[in-house]
Protein backbone atom coordinates (compact mmCIF):
# COMPACT_ATOMS: atom_id res chain seq x y z
CA UNK A 1 0.00 0.00 0.00
CA UNK A 2 1.12 3.51 -0.71
CA UNK A 3 1.62 6.12 1.97
CA UNK A 4 1.90 9.89 1.71
CA UNK A 5 3.54 11.96 4.44
CA UNK A 6 3.29 15.70 4.94
CA UNK A 7 5.55 16.59 7.85
CA UNK A 8 4.47 20.24 8.21
CA UNK A 9 1.07 20.56 9.91
CA UNK A 10 1.22 24.34 9.48
CA UNK A 11 3.28 26.87 7.55
CA UNK A 12 3.21 30.65 7.63
CA UNK A 13 4.57 33.06 5.02
CA UNK A 14 4.49 36.78 4.41
CA UNK A 15 2.45 37.99 1.47
CA UNK A 16 4.57 38.19 -1.72
CA UNK A 17 7.17 35.80 -0.31
CA UNK A 18 7.93 32.24 -1.41
CA UNK A 19 7.01 29.13 0.57
CA UNK A 20 7.72 25.44 0.05
CA UNK A 21 5.47 22.65 1.29
CA UNK A 22 6.99 19.21 1.75
CA UNK A 23 5.65 15.81 0.77
CA UNK A 24 7.21 12.37 0.75
CA UNK A 25 5.62 9.13 -0.35
CA UNK A 26 6.31 5.44 -0.32
CA UNK A 27 5.48 3.09 -3.17
CA UNK A 28 6.89 0.07 -4.94
CA UNK A 29 5.46 1.19 -8.27
CA UNK A 30 7.61 2.83 -10.93
CA UNK A 31 4.80 4.55 -12.80
CA UNK A 32 2.41 6.76 -10.86
CA UNK A 33 0.99 10.25 -10.54
CA UNK A 34 1.35 12.90 -7.88
CA UNK A 35 -0.94 15.81 -7.14
CA UNK A 36 -1.25 18.86 -4.95
CA UNK A 37 -4.78 19.87 -4.02
CA UNK A 38 -5.88 23.05 -2.25
CA UNK A 39 -8.83 22.99 0.16
CA UNK A 40 -10.07 26.39 1.35
CA UNK A 41 -12.60 26.72 4.20
CA UNK A 42 -15.38 26.16 1.66
CA UNK A 43 -14.11 22.52 1.56
CA UNK A 44 -13.94 22.41 -2.25
CA UNK A 45 -10.85 20.43 -3.24
CA UNK A 46 -9.13 22.26 -6.09
CA UNK A 47 -6.35 20.73 -8.16
CA UNK A 48 -3.24 22.90 -8.02
CA UNK A 49 -0.70 20.89 -9.97
CA UNK A 50 -0.05 17.38 -11.26
CA UNK A 51 3.14 15.44 -11.99
CA UNK A 52 3.56 12.23 -13.95
CA UNK A 53 6.35 10.10 -12.50
CA UNK A 54 7.73 9.16 -15.92
CA UNK A 55 8.37 12.82 -16.71
CA UNK A 56 11.67 14.17 -15.46
CA UNK A 57 10.67 17.79 -15.96
CA UNK A 58 9.08 19.42 -12.94
CA UNK A 59 5.51 20.62 -13.46
CA UNK A 60 4.74 24.35 -13.31
CA UNK A 61 1.44 26.21 -13.17
CA UNK A 62 1.90 29.98 -12.98
CA UNK A 63 3.11 30.75 -9.42
CA UNK A 64 3.06 27.07 -8.43
CA UNK A 65 5.86 24.65 -9.19
CA UNK A 66 7.04 21.33 -7.85
CA UNK A 67 10.39 19.78 -7.06
CA UNK A 68 9.97 16.12 -7.93
CA UNK A 69 12.79 13.86 -6.74
CA UNK A 70 11.80 10.34 -7.80
CA UNK A 71 14.73 8.53 -6.23
CA UNK A 72 14.13 10.27 -2.92
CA UNK A 73 10.33 9.87 -3.28
CA UNK A 74 9.90 13.55 -2.59
CA UNK A 75 7.36 15.93 -4.12
CA UNK A 76 7.45 19.46 -2.72
CA UNK A 77 5.29 22.39 -3.77
CA UNK A 78 6.71 25.88 -4.15
CA UNK A 79 4.39 28.86 -4.13
CA UNK A 80 5.99 32.07 -5.38
CA UNK A 81 4.68 35.58 -4.73
CA UNK A 82 2.24 34.29 -2.10
CA UNK A 83 -1.19 35.91 -2.13
CA UNK A 84 -3.87 36.12 0.55
CA UNK A 85 -6.06 33.85 -1.58
CA UNK A 86 -3.48 31.08 -1.28
CA UNK A 87 -4.39 30.56 2.37
CA UNK A 88 -5.88 27.06 2.65
CA UNK A 89 -5.13 23.46 3.51
CA UNK A 90 -2.82 21.84 0.95
CA UNK A 91 -2.91 18.11 0.39
CA UNK A 92 -0.38 16.00 -1.43
CA UNK A 93 -1.89 12.96 -3.14
CA UNK A 94 -0.66 9.80 -4.91
CA UNK A 95 -2.32 7.68 -7.55
CA UNK A 96 -0.95 4.48 -9.01
CA UNK A 97 -1.09 3.72 -12.70
CA UNK A 98 -2.85 0.39 -12.37
CA UNK A 99 -6.48 1.09 -13.18
CA UNK A 100 -6.22 4.46 -14.87
CA UNK A 101 -8.85 5.83 -12.51
CA UNK A 102 -7.74 4.58 -9.11
CA UNK A 103 -8.62 6.44 -5.96
CA UNK A 104 -6.16 8.94 -4.51
CA UNK A 105 -4.08 8.41 -1.38
CA UNK A 106 -3.77 11.70 0.48
CA UNK A 107 -1.41 13.04 3.11
CA UNK A 108 -2.72 14.70 6.27
CA UNK A 109 -2.33 18.17 4.83
CA UNK A 110 -0.47 21.39 5.57
CA UNK A 111 -2.32 24.47 6.76
CA UNK A 112 -0.86 27.46 4.93
CA UNK A 113 -1.24 30.88 6.55
CA UNK A 114 -0.51 34.04 4.59
CA UNK A 115 0.53 37.01 6.70
CA UNK A 116 -0.46 40.38 5.18
Amino acid sequence: AQTVTQSQPEMSVQEAETVTLSCTYDTSESDYYLFWYKQPPSRQMILVIRQEAYKQQNATENRFSVNFQKAAKSFSLKISDSQLGDAAMYFCAFRGSGGGADGLTFGKGTHLIIQP
Binding site: V4, Y33, Y37, S42, R43, Q44, M45, I46, L47, R50, E52, F91, A93, S97, G99, G100, A101, D102, G103, L104, T105, F106, G107, K108, G109
Partner: protein, 115 residues
Amino acid sequence: EAGVVQSPRYKIIEKKQPVAFWCNPISGHNTLYWYLQNLGQGPELLIRYENEEAVDDSQLPKDRFSAERLKGVDSTLKIQPAELGDSAVYLCASSAGGVRTDTQYFGPGTRLTVL
Protein backbone atom coordinates in the same frame (compact mmCIF):
# COMPACT_ATOMS: atom_id res chain seq x y z
CA GLU B 1 -19.58 23.55 -17.24
CA ALA B 2 -21.17 22.65 -13.92
CA GLY B 3 -18.97 21.00 -11.33
CA VAL B 4 -19.69 18.09 -9.05
CA VAL B 5 -22.85 18.78 -7.07
CA GLN B 6 -23.49 17.39 -3.61
CA SER B 7 -26.39 17.72 -1.25
CA PRO B 8 -27.04 18.44 1.46
CA ARG B 9 -24.08 20.63 2.43
CA TYR B 10 -24.74 20.04 6.13
CA LYS B 11 -26.61 17.36 8.02
CA ILE B 12 -27.16 16.95 11.74
CA ILE B 13 -28.75 13.74 13.01
CA GLU B 14 -29.13 11.75 16.19
CA LYS B 15 -27.11 8.56 16.51
CA LYS B 16 -28.80 5.41 15.24
CA GLN B 17 -30.72 7.42 12.64
CA PRO B 18 -30.25 6.80 8.92
CA VAL B 19 -28.75 9.40 6.61
CA ALA B 20 -28.17 9.69 2.87
CA PHE B 21 -25.93 11.86 0.74
CA TRP B 22 -26.43 12.61 -2.93
CA CYS B 23 -23.88 13.33 -5.64
CA ASN B 24 -24.27 14.45 -9.24
CA PRO B 25 -20.97 14.15 -11.14
CA ILE B 26 -19.73 16.28 -13.99
CA SER B 27 -21.62 15.46 -17.16
CA GLY B 28 -19.97 12.68 -19.11
CA HIS B 29 -17.74 11.50 -16.26
CA ASN B 30 -17.88 7.72 -16.02
CA THR B 31 -15.93 7.33 -12.80
CA LEU B 32 -17.33 8.45 -9.46
CA TYR B 33 -15.66 8.35 -6.05
CA TRP B 34 -16.83 8.76 -2.48
CA TYR B 35 -14.25 9.87 0.06
CA LEU B 36 -14.45 10.28 3.83
CA GLN B 37 -12.56 13.18 5.39
CA ASN B 38 -12.17 13.22 9.17
CA LEU B 39 -11.27 16.46 10.91
CA GLY B 40 -7.61 17.33 10.42
CA GLN B 41 -7.04 14.48 7.99
CA GLY B 42 -6.81 13.96 4.26
CA PRO B 43 -9.68 12.26 2.41
CA GLU B 44 -9.83 8.47 2.33
CA LEU B 45 -11.45 6.52 -0.46
CA LEU B 46 -14.65 4.68 0.44
CA ILE B 47 -15.83 3.45 -2.94
CA ARG B 48 -15.21 3.91 -6.65
CA TYR B 49 -17.69 3.39 -9.46
CA GLU B 50 -17.03 2.78 -13.12
CA ASN B 51 -20.38 3.65 -14.65
CA GLU B 52 -22.86 1.76 -12.46
CA GLU B 53 -20.40 -0.88 -11.25
CA ALA B 54 -18.64 -0.59 -7.90
CA VAL B 55 -15.07 -1.61 -8.80
CA ASP B 56 -13.37 -0.75 -5.51
CA ASP B 57 -15.37 -0.86 -2.28
CA SER B 58 -12.74 -2.46 -0.07
CA GLN B 59 -12.72 0.49 2.37
CA LEU B 60 -16.50 0.79 2.69
CA PRO B 61 -17.78 -0.44 6.08
CA LYS B 62 -20.47 -2.66 4.66
CA ASP B 63 -22.23 -3.36 7.94
CA ARG B 64 -23.69 0.14 8.00
CA PHE B 65 -22.66 1.88 4.77
CA SER B 66 -24.15 1.31 1.35
CA ALA B 67 -23.92 3.09 -1.96
CA GLU B 68 -25.55 2.95 -5.33
CA ARG B 69 -25.13 4.56 -8.69
CA LEU B 70 -28.20 3.88 -10.72
CA LYS B 71 -27.94 4.40 -14.48
CA GLY B 72 -24.28 5.31 -14.05
CA VAL B 73 -24.91 8.97 -13.28
CA ASP B 74 -26.04 10.17 -9.83
CA SER B 75 -24.93 8.34 -6.73
CA THR B 76 -26.24 8.00 -3.19
CA LEU B 77 -24.23 7.07 -0.12
CA LYS B 78 -26.21 5.85 2.88
CA ILE B 79 -25.39 5.19 6.50
CA GLN B 80 -27.77 3.13 8.63
CA PRO B 81 -27.58 3.38 11.55
CA ALA B 82 -25.25 6.35 12.06
CA GLU B 83 -22.74 6.32 14.92
CA LEU B 84 -20.97 9.18 16.67
CA GLY B 85 -17.74 8.30 14.90
CA ASP B 86 -19.34 8.88 11.51
CA SER B 87 -19.18 12.64 12.03
CA ALA B 88 -17.01 13.82 9.15
CA VAL B 89 -17.09 15.39 5.70
CA TYR B 90 -18.18 13.13 2.86
CA LEU B 91 -16.69 14.15 -0.48
CA CYS B 92 -17.76 13.06 -3.92
CA ALA B 93 -15.45 13.28 -6.93
CA SER B 94 -15.69 12.34 -10.57
CA SER B 95 -13.34 11.82 -13.48
CA ALA B 96 -13.66 11.08 -17.16
CA GLY B 97 -12.11 7.68 -16.59
CA GLY B 98 -10.10 5.40 -18.84
CA VAL B 99 -7.28 7.89 -19.31
CA ARG B 100 -3.90 7.47 -17.67
CA THR B 101 -3.55 11.08 -16.69
CA ASP B 102 -7.10 11.36 -15.45
CA THR B 103 -7.94 14.17 -13.05
CA GLN B 104 -10.47 13.91 -10.24
CA TYR B 105 -12.79 16.85 -9.65
CA PHE B 106 -14.33 17.22 -6.23
CA GLY B 107 -17.64 18.48 -4.96
CA PRO B 108 -18.02 20.76 -1.91
CA GLY B 109 -18.78 17.85 0.39
CA THR B 110 -21.43 17.13 3.00
CA ARG B 111 -20.54 17.80 6.61
CA LEU B 112 -22.25 15.22 8.83
CA THR B 113 -22.65 15.74 12.55
CA VAL B 114 -23.97 12.82 14.60
CA LEU B 115 -25.23 13.75 18.08
